[in-house]
């Protein structure tokens, strides 16, 4: 029953001729995003956390390597805003550091995996045939590989990888396992784009295929890549937390939210702040990204109803 949404699209079409009413696509997307209050709130929370992870160190005079022998395992106090661990380390300093690690891992993994999948997916769709089949086979094989095992082996320090800091090691491993889904999505999307008339037109004009991919395909999957970037960040942060929680991800002396949560699980009843504070931060982080993602999806989706009702506005106009 596509007919039901049709009338609106029809009007959109008819109205396009008047130049003064044409709005750029990026502006429409921005507006739609801003209209989604949850998404805007998510954006602000994320930005706040990001700033906190960078400048949070100034909120406390302690750092994560200094022990405070006078305050061991103390609940929040004016001296230590979020309390201390049983070793006497300021929790605030740890959280700042952990958040930074988590966000860093998220951004790098999200960004780079989107790039890899875009290149890989476009290549598959573009060359087709045997290249496509081979690359698809590799991709499927990677999907089937047990990520958790590889992470465990890699971060346990075997194989001469000891020199790398554990967070970087985790980034590499997460990257290795995060791009396949998107690559497959990009492949199918590019394949359908290849069927578009403007791609055909370019082909019939004799434009070289490489240029067609670069000029026509890549820009047109942009919105998918943006969406996937934010989703990738969330995914990477959650994966880091999960791996570190079971003790195979980030290794001390590096701290991350996952490490902090993992350490505190045993003593939730005796040191509740040590468990709840990093957990809240993690929720805020992934939650804000999910909220943003929701708004972005709405903004990019042409058939979304983010525009709202006509009734409320006309009622106001009548008064």
């Amino acid at each position: 029953m596509t007919n039901i949404i049709d009338p609106i699209a029809e009007i959109d079409e008819a109205r396009v001729g008047d130049q003064d009413v044409v709005i750029g696509k990026s502006r429409i997307i921005f507006r739609r995003f801003m209209r989604n209050r949850t998404a805007v709130a998510g954006l602000f929370i994320f930005l706040a956390l990001f700033l906190f992870s960078i400048f949070g160190g100034f909120l406390t005079s302690w750092d994560k390597d200094t022990l405070d022998p006078l305050n061991i395992g103390m609940p929040p106090s004016p001296d230590h805003l979020l309390g201390t661990t049983q070793a006497g380390i300021d929790l605030m300093a740890l959280i700042v550091d952990g958040t930074r690690t988590s966000i860093l891992i998220g951004l790098i993994v999200g960004g780079v995996s989107v790039l890899i999948s875009a290149v890989y997916g476009c290549t598959m769709a573009f060359f087709g045939g045997k290249v496509d089949a081979t690359m698809l086979f590799i991709l499927e094989a990677l999907i089937m590989m047990p990520a958790i095992l590889v992470v465990a082996v890699a971060t346990s320090g075997s194989g001469g990888l000891k020199d790398l800091p554990s967070w970087l090691l985790l980034v590499v491993v997460l990257l290795f396992f995060s791009w396949m889904g998107t690559a497959r999505l990009v492949r199918s999307l590019s394949m359908s784009l290849m069927q578009r008339d403007y791609v055909k037109a370019a082909k019939y004009m004799g434009v070289p295929s490489r240029r067609i991919v670069w000029r026509h395909l890549v820009p047109n999957i942009g919105s998918l890549l943006v969406l996937d970037f934010t989703r990738g960040i969330t995914g990477a942060i959650l994966a880091e937390v999960a791996f570190s929680f079971i003790g195979i991800g980030i290794k001390l002396p590096d701290v991350s939210l996952g490490v902090l949560i993992g350490q505190a699980t045993g003593q939730v009843s005796s040191f509740p702040w040590m468990f709840w504070v990093p957990l809240t931060v993690m929720f805020l982080l992934t939650g804000s990204l999910a909220m943003m993602n929701d708004g972005l999806r709405d903004a990019f989706d042409p058939s979304s109803s983010s525009i709202g009702r006509a009734k409320t506005k006309t009622a106001k106009a009548a008064k």
């Binding site: 029953m1 596509t2 007919n3 039901i4 949404i5 049709d6 009338p7 609106i8 029809e10 009007i11 959109d12 079409e13 008819a14 109205r15 396009v16 001729g17 008047d18 130049q19 009413v21 044409v22 709005i23 696509k25 429409i28 507006r31 739609r32 578009r196 008339d197 403007y198 055909k200 037109a201 370019a202 019939y204 004009m205 004799g206 434009v207 000029r215 026509h216 820009p219 047109n220 109803s305 525009i307 709202g308 009702r309 006509a310 009734k311 506005k313 006309t314 106009a317």
Partner: protein, 721 residues
Amino acid sequence: MSTNTSQTPAERLRDAGLYAPGDAVLSVRDLNVRFNSENGVVHAVRGVDFDLMPGKTLGIVGESGSGKSVTSMAVMGLLPETADITGSVRFKGKELLGLSDKAMCKHRGSDIAMVFQDPLSSLTPVYTVGHQIIEALTVHNPTMSKQAKEARAVDLLRMVGIPSPKDRLKAFPHEFSGGMRQRVMIAIAIANDPRVLIADEPTTALDVTIQAQVLEVLHTAQEETGAAVVMITHDLGVVAGMADDIMVMYAGKPVETGTVEDIYYNPRMPYTLGLLGAVPRVDTSGKQSLVPIEGTPPNLALPVTGCSFAARCPMVSDACLHGEPELFPVPGVEGQTLGHKAACIKADQLSGDADAHKIFQAPPKPVSKFDGVARAERAKVLELKDVKKHFPLLKGALIKRRIGTVKAVDGLSFDIREGECVSIVGESGCGKTTTLLEIMEFHPDQVGEVVIGGVSNKVATDHKTKMAMRKEMQMVFQDPTGALDPRFTVYEVLAEPLENLGMPKAAIKKRIMELMKLVGLQPDHVNRFPNQFSGGQRQRIGIARALAVNPKLVVLDEPVSALDVSVQAGVINLLDKLRAELGLSYLMVAHDLSVVRHISDRVAVMYLGKIVETGDVDDVFDHPRHPYTRALLSAIPVPDPALERTRERIILQGDLPSPLDAPKGCNFATRCPVFAALPAAKQEKCLTLEPPLASEKEGTQDFACFFPDGEIDSDMLVVHA
């Protein structure tokens, strides 16, 4: 339409209940619909009034965005929650607006039913059609027994002309063709004997021969149920034969209403006049340009101050810009009914003999330098010799085995000379698009020879020959929106083929300016994106891109079928002009035979991958010899109510046969109306031998039939007296 239009809306609403004709099944008064959009509130429907009498047909005609579909959706209560709807919609005196969705469900499907445009997506693929018909019955007749419902479903399928209805009840939608599915949709719509049947562009997605069948079914359905029909369409031909009254909508408002005769023979609103002149006709040869209506409909997000058509109207004066004219009764002409109303202050000036061509200043028919030269003396631009494209039909999941061959194109030979336009016509699935693709592919491995500008595909092995050929031939696509990269500015779109030829930057710039002027676009619009143009303008950009490299041959794939009628005329005139000025040749594929007749010099009728008739367009259209051509031509509705009601129509039975069991002798024998009337002895010949494509007399069209001009089987002839 008995209320006085000069009243305030409130008064009209009050009066609607009092003065609406008591016997009207559906009265709509002052219907207004608003949507919210990125540009503010769009006032999509602005005050629609009509009364629908039982058993009558009202045609609502308008372009996309005129609010005709929104009106029908509002009546059915199908608009999204976010729309703001005011006014009054009364079914037999009962107000429908403001009813809850649940309350509305009682009326939907039983009192008021709807046939949607797209039959492919209107049926659920996972249920059998029988299930879906019975579902419609169950909802409104919970007490009906299972046997009764099944019997009724069989009845309904028989009524809409589906063969062996009892077995087909268990078939799934994908087992039906598009036309058959639309019949099922009609069966579902009339299942509960609705009093009002709303058909929203019911045949737009269908082929002409199927369209004729479906219109016939709608006609029967209306006769059987006595329902009043609201027929929404953009095609003035489709409603000419069916409707009793017509309402022409423009920018969300009815601009002219009246009986069919009033509207078609005596239009009093310039817009109606222009629309009628903008449609090419299949029954007259195209020696005159079409009436172009310049410009685009107004932006309905802004308040309308003057006449909404003023910006495009050739008769506009200052008075038109002050206050929007209401629908006023047209001052009496003898023999006129009182119901004829037009929203134009100059309605008096447009008496019965107004000439749309003069008023809209249609350009003169352009003359090409090749027009005087005999066809045989002109050079060949394109030649096809026995081109074939067969697709293997495979079955089996792991090991594919060949179970048959689809002969999409089966031995096609024709040529195109300089300065002429050759059109390929036929139903969808006949292989016309495959032919175009074969020509565009231009690959040495193809079966058959394609010669473009003297270069044969057999020698086109290196990149250089291919590039030379690409320069000779360019393509214009059907959907102007899809053919332009949304992220390219017009400049980039037009520069692409030129850059590809390695032209220097300055030369490219100059050429683009030339091109913009050539296709009638403002040169300073080159920095805009395609979505900032209307459909017609986008198609002009597509044409400009095709012309960029100065080709000799332009391949047009349904160049105007995605455009509105008024815009279509402008593009057709442009194509005509370019052909004459630049000496271009066209190869066009189109399903709209009226457009084909207007624009082409020669035509080839295809059926199942073969040409069945070809020749000069006037020969073929005026004296069709092959029964398929005759059926195809007779299926096209003509925007002339008197003619439409009396003319004979050949309604073909069934659809294109599946390519798997393609007939052995003449391809067309299974559906042929002449074959059906032949004595058995002569039928034998059609079934065993394949008729060759040849002409009867020198200098006339070629056709492939043993019994040209044969008598048509009376079962397939329909006349509405």
